[in-house]
């Protein structure tokens, strides 16, 4: 299926966690080493990380903010188009119209934007391969989402896709460069893909 992304952070109990939108209504806060072992076993891949491009003090505060996101048990729909959705710092997910939702990548962008740190611009362009990816997501939603949601997502197939490596590349670039444009994020994403190879 491709790549996946989330926030890696440390809690005050010393545990290192991965906060990520795994799929439809599945926001997870996994123990990083356990999740790493799981994806190694299942996909032969491993977890890689880089520092968020925020100043050190901002990252301390942002980590505290991340720990609060799960308290409201937000049920975040998985969708190809995030239109109308938003993440507020008090842990509330604001739903958009039916079928709208987040991916692992747009979850990262939405959380950062909700905290006053927009990391990517809204000028992403659709690409031919987005169609095929959308079809795969639709197939995966079968049996996991309501028919109403699935039908609405089908209408969004072909929408511009923020790929995990693009949002990650933007998020780990220096803060003065935020928010990154589509071409700049693509360039950084290519570096990430090379690193992962």
């Amino acid at each position: 299926m491709g790549r996946h992304a989330g926030f890696l952070y440390r809690r005050d109990d010393g545990s290192v966690r991965v906060l990520h939108l795994a799929f439809h209504h599945s926001l997870r806060d996994d123990q990083a080493d356990q999740w790493d072992a799981t994806i190694r076993a299942r996909f032969g891949a491993d977890l890689r990380w880089a520092d968020l491009g925020l100043p050190d003090d901002s990252r301390v505060v942002f980590a505290a903010h991340l720990s609060q996101l799960l308290l409201g048990n937000p049920q975040i729909p998985y969708g190809l188009d995030a239109g109308g959705t938003a993440f507020t710092p008090d842990g509330r997910f604001v739903r958009g119209p039916v079928g709208k939702g987040l991916t692992c990548a747009t979850f990262i962008a939405a959380v950062l934007a909700g905290y006053g740190h927009p990391v990517v611009m809204d000028n992403w362009q659709p690409r031919p391969e987005d169609q095929a990816w959308g079809e795969q997501i639709l197939a995966m939603l079968e049996g996991r989402a309501s028919q109403e949601h699935i039908d609405a997502v089908r209408a969004d197939i072909g929408a511009s896709r923020y790929r995990p490596e693009e949002v990650v590349g933007a998020a780990v670039s220096p803060l003065p460069e935020w928010p990154l444009s589509f071409p700049d994020a693509i360039a950084l994403a290519e570096q990430i893909v090379q690193e992962l190879a």
Partner: protein
């Protein structure tokens, strides 16, 4: 660009999240009736209160406002330990739409002495409802000035909040 795997993870690579998850509780009201006591310390300023303010919010249960006093009395040495209670406190007041209470808190926060992490957390957490908070911008401007006076990169820390 370098991506690290977990084997490179150590204490120095990450920002610690300090502070446990607080449980809001209502203190015994005998404490409310006790006269406030202050503890002088540091550079002569009052650093603590021995009673807990319970605030009755319209249409809701009383909430523990202890975190406010802890935030006001904070400094860079103890601020990180108070981050989670402060963020939770801000979030609670936002959920209750207690904007006048938040405004009063902003005016009470001593930007020159309070923990830089708490100042930043307060500014960021209240950012989405800033249009409802008449004292938000003056507060953030004070934080900006204080950060600059402390030699911090105010522009980077407050990026996206002003202008």
């Amino acid at each position: 660009m370098t991506l690290w795997d977990l084997s490179y993870l150590d204490n120095s690579e990450f920002d610690w999240l300090s502070g446990g998850v607080p449980v809001l509780n209502i203190r015994d009201d005998r404490e409310l009736r006790a006269p406030p006591r202050t503890v002088a310390g540091g550079h002569g300023r009052k650093v603590g209160y021995r009673f807990h303010l319970v605030t009755a919010m319209p249409g809701s249960a009383a909430v523990d406002s202890r975190w406010m006093f802890d935030a006001i009395a904070s400094d860079d040495a103890n601020g990180r330990a108070r981050l989670v209670p402060t963020i939770q406190g801000i979030n609670s007041l936002i959920a209750l739409e207690a904007y006048s209470r938040l405004d009063a808190f902003f005016d009470s926060m001593p930007a020159s002495t309070a923990s830089r992490h708490l100042l930043l957390a307060v500014a960021r957490s209240s950012f989405p409802v800033r249009i409802k908070l008449s004292r938000w911008q003056p507060f953030v401007l004070r934080v900006r000035d204080a950060f600059e006076a402390r030699g911090l990169d105010a522009a980077a820390l407050l990026k996206g909040l002003l202008g």
